[in-house]
């Protein structure tokens, strides 16, 4: 009886230890495996031109919407100008000149509003991070503001 109790107790101890550590391992491997499937390379469904976020198709006018661009400039002056110049010169982040030619509107607006997720998986965003070494802050820009900022970028890139 005493022996049986000992065996049971040992079993409990081992299970307790094993259970504890395996839980830890599972959590770790789950995280890394999810990350793997989420990286752009490992996931053919990821569209590197669009990025990841709520914007799938952004309608652009033939000509500049000056009112939208003006609103976008206001947001830029509060939330973006600390790190981005309007020339091609890098400050903390890359200069904005030509940005609308380097990326699609969807990519830019997704990056601006879903920053952390894209920094974790988007190849172009990750390449920039290697240069700048500062993760772009999520500045909690509203959808409408993101669109206005994009229009301001178009203006900066010479769209009339």
């Amino acid at each position: 009886m005493k022996r049986l109790a000992m065996i049971l107790f040992l079993g409990t101890c081992i299970t307790a230890c094993g259970g504890g550590s395996s839980e830890g391992t599972t959590t770790a491997s789950e995280t890394s495996s999810t990350e793997n499937t989420k990286t752009a390379g490992g996931n053919p469904s990821y569209d590197p031109n669009r990025g990841e976020g709520k914007f799938t198709k952004v309608e652009l006018g033939e000509t500049l919407d000056a009112a939208m661009a003006a609103n976008g400039q206001k947001v830029f002056e509060v939330k973006c100008v600390s790190c981005h110049k309007l020339t091609s010169e890098k400050l903390v982040g890359p200069g904005w000149l030509g940005v609308t030619e380097r990326h699609t509107a969807e990519w830019i607006m997704n990056f601006a509003t879903n920053t952390d997720a894209m920094l974790d998986k988007d190849p172009k965003a990750q390449a920039q991070l290697e240069i700048c070494l500062v993760r772009m802050p999520n500045q909690n820009i509203a959808d409408e503001d993101a669109r206005n900022v994009y229009e301001f970028m178009r203006k900066n890139d010479g769209v009339k």
Partner: protein, 664 residues
């Protein structure tokens, strides 16, 4: 965390495998069962099930732990300055610690109460009391920041506080040290205690929508020591119960002289009745002076208003609002059961726990079953109010909380144990040792109408050998017990800040989803807010220099400032331009006779600096924010008084500019 917990278990199992039998319980540490680690283990990245708000005692602060892990989540500065968070150092927070005596940098926070709706926690605010310079604070549980502090006139030693009513209608505050009222000449011999000293109970109203506090009225009571209190609930709604000691009215060597009588009193207050009298204009206006301090989340700054009047009622003039009933030997805790039917008095020098019946008390009042009166207040007969006594519970009962199964748990200071007993039959069911000398205890939801049960934490006054030695002073220990079964089971020790008194345990779900992540810049109404780097500037007004500065990963704007002179007072108004969770920036400058600023995203905070020497003073961000955090710094050039160095400022390059001109 995990490794430390599992290590002893693993070693134990391993030694068994090797055939050693080194596992005989030898000391208190061995009293822990083998599954304790699993019960308190919260995996990395996982949340705890409960928040535990724990008073910081003589630290003056409020700590927040996760349970069952015992992990310290945050220390919220309340009544004491906290240079780490700029609390009491930034211009915006200095008014929070103002009192009628001026700026008080320290206090002693004893008790913690979560706001309630229908007698259950609602997760909106937590209140704390200042024992030394009597005040009550309200902490907002969206921001985990002290939102309001109100001072209490006519009071000394605010101890029976901040206990609250079922729907947070009132927070009470009772004087532990009776004193002459504020509006009379207090320059009297101490030996005139009986004649001149009065006890005061304050009822602080709390606005339903925003929590704003106001002293609704004060009750003037006989001069003795009001210790602890609890509101009635359920059947006893509308009543409040206060324990008292020193009904001997001693004023020296209280240790002996306040322990003469066999019984002191519990004071029952019919606060609904008192409220009616106040509404009917029965109160008397008294001229006093007290501070009321409010922190505004929009201006990110606080204001302190000195108020000059309070409404007071002398309980002896209103015979139906206050009653005494005797309670053995200097009662401490005075705790009300979940149904509100029973009031548990804990005579700290008594060898039994009296349990009083609310129903019997009402009947005794109706029958005028008095044994006399004290200062005109009727004293009910002990036996007429008593439901029963818990016999031989242990030594030195202090505090009682309740579980979800009809049981009560009382801390026993002298015999160092927690005793579980049944509220109905008053039989002792279990006792568990504490290490050592437990003061307060706390059951999850244990003062509500619907306790969660599950866990109990004992807050011990003596630590001795529980943790690695750290010199003469040791962190006081908290001990977590699993109370879900018939037997209480010790599952964790963890250290605390200051000296913990009361604490509360609340389901994390009530709070965690409401947590503020950042302050919207659009809503920032601080008068020194810089709306983006374009809004930064340096303005001189006489010898006052206002620096409108911004912080964002990873630079400060402006980061070069020249033209500051000896004799100037420089105010750095730093706006954190980040709009994301968990990205505070810090600010500090060499030689500043103050703390740092810790600025939350979207917030503006101000540091005052008076340069004391000519030269260059570096400043920098103190909170590691990005890979280029080490680069987040700048310089101020200080020139002699009367120097003609012009005011210049900027980031990137210095451009000579006039006052108030915007930089780019």
């Amino acid at each position: 965390m995990k490794n430390y917990k599992l290590l002893p278990v693993a070693v134990f199992a391993f030694s068994l495998l090797l055939g050693f039998n080194a596992c005989k319980p030898k000391n208190a540490g061995s009293a822990v069962s083998s599954d304790a680690a699993a019960k308190t283990y919260v995996a990395p990245g996982k949340y705890d099930e409960f928040y535990n708000f724990v008073s910081g005692g003589f630290s003056g602060q409020l700590s927040t732990y996760g349970l069952p892990s015992g992990r310290l989540l945050r220390v919220i500065p309340v009544f004491s300055v906290d240079p780490e968070k700029g609390w009491g150092y930034s211009e915006e927070t200095k008014p929070m610690l103002n009192t009628s005596h001026g700026f008080v940098p320290w206090d002693d926070l004893h008790h913690v109460q979560l706001s309630k709706t229908n007698g259950e926690y609602d997760g909106r605010w937590v209140f704390g009391n200042a024992n030394n310079t009597p005040r009550v604070a309200r902490i907002d549980l969206k921001t985990f920041r002290t939102a309001e502090i109100i001072e209490l006139p006519n009071s000394g030693g605010n101890h029976s506080s901040p206990f609250i009513t079922e729907n947070t209608e009132y927070v009470v505050a009772g004087t532990r040290f009776s004193i002459p009222p504020d509006d009379v000449n207090g320059d009297v011999p101490i030996s005139t205690y009986k004649k001149n000293f009065k006890g005061t109970i304050s009822f602080i109203s709390v606005q339903k929508d925003n929590g704003a506090m106001d002293i609704a009225f004060q009750l003037r009571c006989p001069g003795f020591n009001f210790d602890l209190s609890r509101a009635g609930k359920g059947v006893s709604s509308g009543w409040f119960f206060f324990s008292t000691y020193n009904t001997e009215q001693a004023y020296t060597l209280l240790e002996v002289n306040a322990s003469q009588k066999d019984k002191d009193f519990v004071m029952a207050i019919n606060w609904k009745k008192a409220e009616e009298y106040i509404k009917a204009g029965k109160g008397r206006k008294q001229s006093v002076k007290y501070a009321h301090n409010v922190y505004d989340e929009k201006t990110h700054s606080s204001t302190s208003t000195i108020k000059t009047e309070v409404t007071i009622m002398d309980v002896k003039d209103f015979p139906d609002i206050a009653y005494f009933f005797p309670c053995p030997k200097s009662p401490h805790g005075c705790d009300v059961s979940p149904t509100g039917e029973y009031i548990v008095g804990s005579g700290k020098l008594a060898a039994l726990i009296p349990v009083f019946s609310f129903d019997k008390m009402i009947k005794a009042i109706a029958a005028k079953d008095y044994i006399g009166n004290f200062d005109g207040i009727p004293i009910l007969k002990y036996e007429s109010v008593l439901y029963g006594e818990v016999k031989k519970p242990g030594l030195g009962p202090l505090h009682t909380e309740f579980d979800d199964k009809g049981n009560a748990y009382t801390s026993m200071f002298v015999s160092s144990e927690v005793v579980k007993w049944n509220i109905k039959d008053l039989k002792v069911l279990d006792r568990a040792p504490t290490y050592y000398s437990v003061g307060h205890l706390c059951v999850a939801g244990g003062d509500t109408k619907k306790p969660y049960g599950k866990y109990l934490v004992a807050y011990n006054k003596i630590t001795k050998d529980r943790f690695l030695p750290t010199g003469p002073e040791l962190s006081q220990s908290a001990q977590l017990y699993d109370i879900s079964g018939d037997k209480m089971q010790l599952i964790l020790d963890f250290p605390t800040i200051g000296e913990p008194h009361y604490a509360q345990i609340v389901a994390a779900d009530l709070i965690k989803n409401n947590s503020t992540k950042f302050f919207k810049m659009e809503d920032n109404k601080n008068p020194y807010f810089s709306n983006g780097e374009g809004g930064t500037k340096v303005v001189r007004t006489g010898n006052r220099v206002d620096v409108y500065m911004t912080a964002i990963r990873s630079h400060l704007t402006p980061d070069n400032i020249e033209g500051v002179k000896m004799g100037d007072e420089v105010y750095f108004h730093v706006t954190n331009l980040e709009q994301d969770w968990d990205v505070p920036h810090g600010f500090a400058i060499k030689g500043a006779l103050t703390g740092e600023l810790l600025i939350m995203p979207g917030e503006t905070q101000t540091l005052k600096w008076v340069p004391d020497r000519v030269g260059i003073s570096p400043f920098y961000c103190t909170d590691f924010c990005s890979a280029l955090h080490q680069e987040m710094s700048g310089y101020v050039r200080v020139s002699p008084a009367g120097s003609n160095v012009p005011l210049k400022f900027g980031t990137g390059k210095i451009e000579p500019t006039a006052d108030s001109v915007k930089t780019k």
